[in-house]
């Protein structure tokens, strides 16, 4: 089920094994090998791709049902959804002040999607989609291009000037550094998410196969915390990147606004 686990069973030693005459005594380690005894509920490798689809359908369903009959005074589901949207709007407003409101839909889409895909790993038989590098790299690259787009939209061609630093003479020193930092952002974003979720999955897998399976239940609260925290960190970092790309130079005014509107909770 885990390609990196099953793969190394048939790795280089097979060659050495062939020269060895047939050995009749089986080693005690063979029966205790963690790869042979599977987890409690077997998971297909393709369940990795089921979780993003599931999350997509879930979000679509909730949005379609929740926004069908909108009222001025919200009741029931609309009330709950408004609570969610209000608190998600708080993420960019906390970093950028009222200016952050326009980026709230983008950032909260990232947050909701990553949170739900992370949490879907808790469903038996499913695996978190973010434990696959292809999905997290997709998210990281999306964030990268979006930040460039927001930068150009907010500042026009002047956006490119922040790559060369404040002093034009020093540009040949600053430019490579800034470019490397800029292009490394999607890499660090996606590897952080992938490493956290994949590592968590592997620890739970190792615990449930090497010990009594219920020991792994102790790790599940930790997985919930990791899921929420990583979604929050991804959304916050994207917000900070957007804030850096779109900030204007009159910083004193901006900071004053941020201090005033920042919620103290």
């Amino acid at each position: 089920m885990n390609d990196w686990l099953s793969q190394h069973n048939s790795s280089p030693v097979v060659l050495a094994q062939a020269q060895q005459p047939a050995e009749t005594t089986t080693t005690p380690t063979t029966s205790a090998d963690p790869v042979e005894s599977g987890p409690l509920i077997p998971r297909s490798e393709y369940s990795l791709y089921a979780s993003p689809i599931l999350v997509f359908l879930l979000i679509m369903l909730v949005v379609i049902i929740g926004t069908r009959r909108l009222k001025i005074v919200p009741r029931g589901m609309q009330n709950f959804l408004e609570l969610v949207v209000e608190s998600l709007n708080g993420i960019p407003e906390m970093v950028m002040g009222p200016r952050g409101r326009q980026y709230a839909p983008f950032v909260s889409t990232f947050f909701l999607y990553i949170l739900l895909v992370n949490l879907s790993g808790l469903i038996p038989g499913l695996k978190s989609g973010t434990a696959s590098l292809s999905i997290t790299v997709g998210l990281g690259v999306t964030a990268f291009f979006a930040v460039q787009y927001f930068g150009f939209r907010a500042k026009g061609i002047r956006y490119l000037t922040h790559f060369i630093g404040p002093v034009p003479l020093m540009a040949f020193l600053i430019l490579p550094l800034e470019l490397i930092a800029e292009f490394f952002r999607p890499v660090s974003l996606s590897f952080r998410l992938y490493g956290n979720i994949f590592g968590e999955e592997q620890i739970i897998h190792a615990l449930s196969t090497q010990f009594f399976p219920l020991v792994a239940v102790l790790m599940l609260p930790l997985q919930i915390i990791t899921s929420v925290l990583q979604a929050l960190v991804f959304a916050l970092l994207v917000t900070v990147y957007i804030a850096l790309a779109t900030e204007e130079h009159e910083e004193h005014k901006e900071h004053a606004v941020v201090e005033e509107t920042a919620p103290a909770h």
């Binding site: 990196w4 190394h8 790795s11 090998d33 590897f191 956290n196 592997q202 929050l232 960190v233 916050l236």
Partner: protein
């Protein structure tokens, strides 16, 4: 054989060393944040957010080491196979 031994030591030590440095760094960051909150309890919300952001950035270095370790583990043979190959099957 020496190759596999070196690989195994590298996998074990690499993540452990990264975790060591990460623990020091995160301890420093949390200490700073706690001192800030103790001095100014009303700034707790903003300090918490900034601390989590900083912790994530520090932690990502360890995560890189972890990902590298996971990649390197695929090059290690299983214990049973090695024992069979050496001929000391018990």
């Amino acid at each position: 054989m020496v190759y596999f031994a070196a690989l195994a030591i590298a996998i074990g030590l690499g993540t452990a060393l990264a975790a060591f440095g990460c623990g020091l760094g995160q301890g420093n960051a949390v200490r700073g944040a706690l001192e800030g909150v103790a001095r100014q309890p009303e700034a707790q919300g903003r300090i918490l957010v900034l601390m989590i952001l900083g912790l994530a950035l520090i932690e990502s270095l360890t995560i890189y080491a972890l990902v590298l370790g996971f990649r390197l583990i695929t090059f290690l043979p299983a214990t049973a196979d090695v024992l069979k190959a050496i001929g000391t099957g018990h």
